[in-house]
Symmetry: none
């Protein structure tokens, strides 16, 4: 429906995603990370904005970074699912192409009878992982090109490239000890050849790793191909750029057809990149990672500090005078949970036409009373487009 | 589901639709039209009612008057779409019948080679439009009756009446200059005869208008037939009447099977009509246009004044002692936008059983905190019926 209503104009839209934004009250103070932090610019902006809470998947469901961001980009994350193999490949900036099949791999330990004794091979160092991957790259399979890319510790990505491949494969990882890895099975007739190729890779890997204990075997799971997503620029009529220091988020943006801009390692670098490319695009997705990192570490003061660092750079973004600015996150990462949370995430939406709103603080509690209410992530883009006057009337 | 739960009783329900009700804060004062107006009766009623915000189509989507009202009448506006030709016909009180095909027409200007030079023929006066329509009515087509009705300036409505007609036709208006009008094409095999008849009309119109420059040609778009809607009185078990000074809203009410009551040009006339027919019906839809007119004109003080005029007549409606009273609108028309807006629209629902609610002001901001929350328009009728004790239990 949206595509049929889109009109173009010269407005500029910015989506700021603070990864893992939402939190939970600290047991000692009763105040969440957002309620503890000194974030005067965010609070002032919330006072001028329409506020609410975003639910990314469904009540009680904790979103991964993939569905979390796809929702913010306007895609129903239940309809457009991305396999773990694909997400891992995106996460290391691997140039995954249409038709490639990607899987998440683990180096593991098996005993003489081939039974798994450690699913993570004692979490071998990343350097060792890289040299073992180098060894597995020597494997040759008929008619397909093979990529084996190290990730971190015992993790790697396997990619098969060729024609007629399918990701409809069962996993080799039994997720249990004392049993051997399972053969990979085709879950659809069209996947039979890919299953055979994959089992060929596993057999060859077993041979190549025979003397490499503890990393003497591999486990594979999360087989998938790149999903076919409607292109973001075409769907929303926006020339769109992504600015993210972390590869996973660049990969997700590339997946929906945004252009990925080269940037540095810090958020200040990202804001500099935004300024530099301001004239070249209609829409910018800017990703801030520090909030999630501290949340996942269970580091409450660290998350507070990350929010405060973000706040000091917000005026520089505002000085570019975007027509529409949305500030939110892809999921909660409460320090109390040391990981992603299912809680809905605060959102503020500012434009000349965003309307009156009683909210004056950018916190979980305050945003719950906002005029936007609690809404699905995929509604954010239509709201942002409306605020940019980029949608015509539905019906006469 | 609703139809199976409906029971009848002697309660009376009133739906007051303030067209274009919602607004946006004035940049100088930070207060919306509703927050600026002196509307003591509306505020007092909100204090006794359950309040909330109505979303007519989807987040960010600006509803036209058709989908806006169909939602208030209990129909999902995405499921029941009404073409522009039909809405135009309803808007001039044309007695459109099942099977008729209606199109929106423009008089336009073409050059000697037949290329469009002005899609609106210089916005010819309405009187000239009427006399040209009279000329086009002379056209004869085999097996169908033809109606050509003037609207305003260059606009007219074309209606074909006969058996076996179809509205699945492409538009002749290319929405561009320098090219000739397009032939009308059948979008389905069943529409081939209607396409041929329509092209016959266009060819005859071209001949008839040859010396009438600037209005020397016609453009047609928005072909459609009356949609088949479940009848409102049968669905909800209500003898229903519509009171509206403007033809478009009478047409929409007739479309769902309400009886349209004769009334005058002012809202005071409408309230008089309501009083006069109070005993004759279970349900009254009463439409107030002035709020939308001022909003579309960008006239902030005018919209404030329209709200205040409505407020002075509210006690007369209350004095009739309806069992259920809903006050809301079909879409926002913020003066700031000079047109329809996508913002959800305040709603109050009063009955003996409407429940406790913290809202004491009938404004966008206050209603956001109401117990009804933000909800789809088509949920209003079931809520109103429940408050009239006209719905039985679902399940034992």
């Amino acid at each position: 429906m949206i595509r049929g209503l889109v009109v173009t104009n010269t407005t500029k839209l910015v989506l700021l995603s603070l990864d893992g934004l939402g939190g939970l009250p600290h047991p000692d103070t009763g105040r969440s990370e957002l309620e503890t932090a000194r974030i005067p610019h965010l609070h002032a902006l919330a006072g001028r904005s329409a506020c609410g809470l975003i639910r990314h998947v469904a009540p009680g469901i904790t979103p991964g970074s993939g569905p979390g961001h796809l929702g913010l980009f306007g895609y129903d994350p239940l309809r457009y699912q991305v396999g773990r193999g694909v997400l891992e490949a995106l996460g290391i900036d691997f140039d995954l192409r249409a038709g490639d099949v990607a899987a998440r791999g683990n180096f593991c330990t098996v005993d003489r009878a081939g039974r798994i004794t450690d699913r993570r091979a004692g979490r071998i160092p990343t350097e060792l992982c890289a040299s073992l991957c180098q060894r597995l790259r020597q494997i040759r399979l008929p008619g397909v090109k093979l990529f084996v890319e190290p990730v971190k510790e015992h993790r790697f990505v396997l990619v098969l490239r060729g024609t007629g491949l399918s990701g409809e494969l069962s996993e080799s990882d039994p997720q249990a000890l004392g049993v051997p890895p399972r053969p990979v099975k085709a879950l659809a007739p069209a996947a039979r050849r890919t299953a055979a190729l994959t089992n060929g890779f596993v057999a060859a890997a077993k041979k190549a790793l025979a003397r490499q204990a503890p990393a003497n075997m591999v486990l594979l799971r999360g087989f998938d191909r790149l999903p076919r997503l409607p292109a973001f620029p075409r769907t929303f009529g926006l020339k769109a750029a992504a600015i993210a220091a972390y590869p996973m988020y660049r990969g997700l943006a590339r997946l929906v057809g945004m252009e990925v801009l080269k940037t540095g390692a810090t958020f200040a670098d990202e804001v500099g990149t935004l300024r530099q490319h301001w004239e070249g695009y209609d829409f910018f997705f800017v990703h801030y990672k520090d909030t999630d990192k501290a949340g996942e570490d269970g580091d409450f003061p660290g998350k507070v500090a990350a929010l405060e660092r973000f706040d000091t750079l917000l005026p520089e973004i505002l000085s570019l005078k975007p027509d529409v600015l949305a500030v939110t996150g892809d999921h909660a990462s409460p320090a109390l949970l040391k990981g992603h949370g299912w809680q809905p995430v605060p959102v503020l939406l500012w434009s000349t036409f965003c309307g009156a709103d009683p909210v004056t603080l950018f916190t979980e509690r305050a945003c719950a009373a906002g005029t936007l209410g609690t809404f699905p992530a995929q509604d954010l883009m239509p709201l942002a487009l409306a605020n940019a006057l980029r949608l015509t009337k539905f019906g006469a």
